[in-house]
Symmetry: C2
Subunit: 157 residues, 2 copies
């Protein structure tokens, strides 16, 4: 089977229309719509969203935010890392490895990756090579952070 192709999503009206099919639709998407309406962006390639298309339709997506090293409270040495949000595969496209392909893409960027494991998704993150951090209430504020470490990077104590 061919590996699913992960594409960086362009910010345009078509993409925003596709986003409405996803459960996690919030301020980031509305903000993109405002920017488009104000003619501030068109086919902007700096979107934090990546996705997978099937037959011309967006069927899976992920947000990858690059967090600056100065905000890093997870890794040793402190460095830029990616934070995963809004990993979502439309219901009828699940169990085809699309979520795995999106997370693999994030890992291919050669920086540490952090996410918040929600809804008892721990087995998925473990399978993807992530590990839970040692929970720190001040830093993690109720999240369940899981991280993936590239070679040479350690968890901060």
């Amino acid at each position: 089977m061919q590996s699913p192709k992960v594409e960086r999503l362009k910010i345009n009206y078509k993409t925003l229309e596709e986003f409405q099919k996803f459960h996690e639709y919030g301020l980031p998407e509305l903000s993109m719509l405002e920017d488009l309406e104000a003619n501030m962006v068109e086919n902007d390639n700096n979107s934090p969203f990546y996705g997978i298309y099937q037959d011309g339709n967006l069927v899976a997506r992920i947000s990858l935010y690059r967090v600056d090293a100065k905000y890093d409270r997870y890794f040793e040495p402190a460095q830029d890392y990616y934070e995963i949000w809004k990993l979502e595969v439309l219901p009828q496209y699940r169990n085809q490895g699309l979520g795995t392909a999106l997370v693999s893409y994030a890992k291919s960027l050669s920086l540490p990756v952090k996410t918040n494991a929600r809804h008892r998704s721990d087995p998925f993150w473990l399978k993807m090579g992530f590990q839970p951090v040692r929970y720190n209430p001040e830093r993690d504020r109720g999240e369940s952070p899981y991280v993936w470490l590239p070679p040479g990077v350690k968890l901060r104590d």
Copy 2:
């Protein structure tokens, strides 16, 4: 109808057993279990969790983290605020105002309150007197923050 009683949850084995019924069960809960097993806490009252009991069972809960003013990037003037996580009402107890009671409790603490509106929950937060912020990708990293402002507090630009 009597208003539901919101209680601060004690960290003990019974509370942790109750938590297993909730969907959002992750590192914070596992961390409490470890602390209990190491005899580090018993009936600790400093838990960030508040909840509502019916007939002796925990049926709704909320996490309220107090964030220090030095981390405040939302309010003017900068100040301590509460962040809401893990607001959850067990399915068979929904539509009885329990979520509203938990959020009202958070508002009663006289500090600003911030949350991340997930799963298209915007109508609920608007009904609770919250407002969306102006989305800032660097700060909000894919979240959909909604805030509640007590008198005299403004949103930071």
